[in-house]
């Protein structure tokens, strides 16, 4: 039950609970999510949502960095195997 799911903010509006709300698209399923704790989030951003609240904005640069490290590991691996076969 601690799962939080990434979704894309499509519309931001003022909710009746005085909370900043958004329509968030989770791979086709749209839900109303409170943005109370992510004041910096804008339309087009991805947020991690849990029980009706966005817990954080997903950091695009950090996500790219993680994938870049993975790719680099792969390239290093290739280089190493080339070195071995060169010997």
């Amino acid at each position: 039950m601690c799962l939080a799911v990434p979704g894309k903010i499509e519309i931001i509006y003022d909710g009746d609970e005085q909370l900043r709300m958004a329509k968030v698209n989770f791979g086709g399923v749209k839900k109303d999510i409170s943005l109370a704790w992510v004041p910096e989030a804008q339309v087009g951003d991805y947020v991690l949502a849990h029980v009706g609240f966005a817990l954080n904005k997903i950091d695009e640069a950090e996500a790219q960095e993680t994938l870049r490290i993975l790719r680099e590991m792969g390239e290093l691996e290739e280089l190493n195997s080339q070195n071995i076969s060169d010997e």
Partner: protein
Amino acid sequence: MKYIDEYRNSETAKFLAERIQKATSKSWNIMEVCGGQTHTILKYSIDELLPKEINLIHGPGCPVCVTPLEMIDKAIAIASRKDVIFASFGDMLRVPGSEIDLLTVKANGGDVRMVYSPLDAVKIAKQNPDKKVIFFAVGFETTAPANAMSVIEAKRLNLKNYSILCSHVLVPPAIEALLSSQNSLIQGFLAAGHVCTVMGYEEYIPLSEKYKVPIVVTGFEPIDILQGVYQCAKQLEEKKYEVKNQYSRAVRREGNLSAKKIIFEVFEVTDRKWRGIGNIPKSGYKVKAKYSMFDSEKIYDVGDIEVNESPVCIAGEILQGIKKPTECSAFGKECTPEHPLGAPMVSTEGACAAYFHYKKFDTAISEK
């Protein structure tokens, strides 16, 4: 789907598994704390992809599983009253109490409702002024700010008929309890990414230093978990013990400060009993005295409840990683998700249910 598909790529997964294999020279016991991660591991057979040197121990991080039986019985006692509407996240409804579960209360005419968010429970209270609305506030730090927010909302709306039955649990004290236990086999941890999204990971630094264990804050997709295992195993091999953040796309060191502020406005730290483990000091939240008018335990005196756990259930050993679900004599026989004998079989994030859904056939084969 962005931020999902790229973390489920099977080529990347195989590549990472190979890297882990190359990096490990001996056996290591690594615990994934969170039930959500256990689910991913079984669903995507990550345990089979990993080299045999890596033994993943499934931790107690499923709030549904660790909510004590007394608390479920209290919920059932309150939900059975004629003047209440009892609201809860869906997965709590099927958790067996000593005798029945909340769904049975509903079938017997009780007004038990499943909600997606605690704010939905506040709405129900607003629409039903002649009824008392109780929300079953369970969960880890991930869920605490939303549950706290419901109290703040109820106060703002001046609702006199809303309260929460609070059974919150906290991850770092549970990690400490596991590490300080004599039985502990755990050499490294994958910390629960979503808990850290809210709380950050500063609390884990003294734990990692004191017990000399690497702790890697890890996400929930297969690639996240493999990368978390890699970072943990690498540290173990190099005799390092640091806190690392694999899930940096969602977790900052200090967590989400606005969400934390809401938690500490409404809750304070208290001792809490964990089902299957027992009392853990300072391991939960309770409602602060200044919000006691929203605290169901203060409003409804349900008295002392005596409880009896099923004698065959070894949930305690499973939640501490001492045994695997398939080692339980009732697993898949008397105990199934349709007829759970213990909490880890109820929630899809419970270790027993995860094994039942994804490992059934293995047991059948090994029994032949």
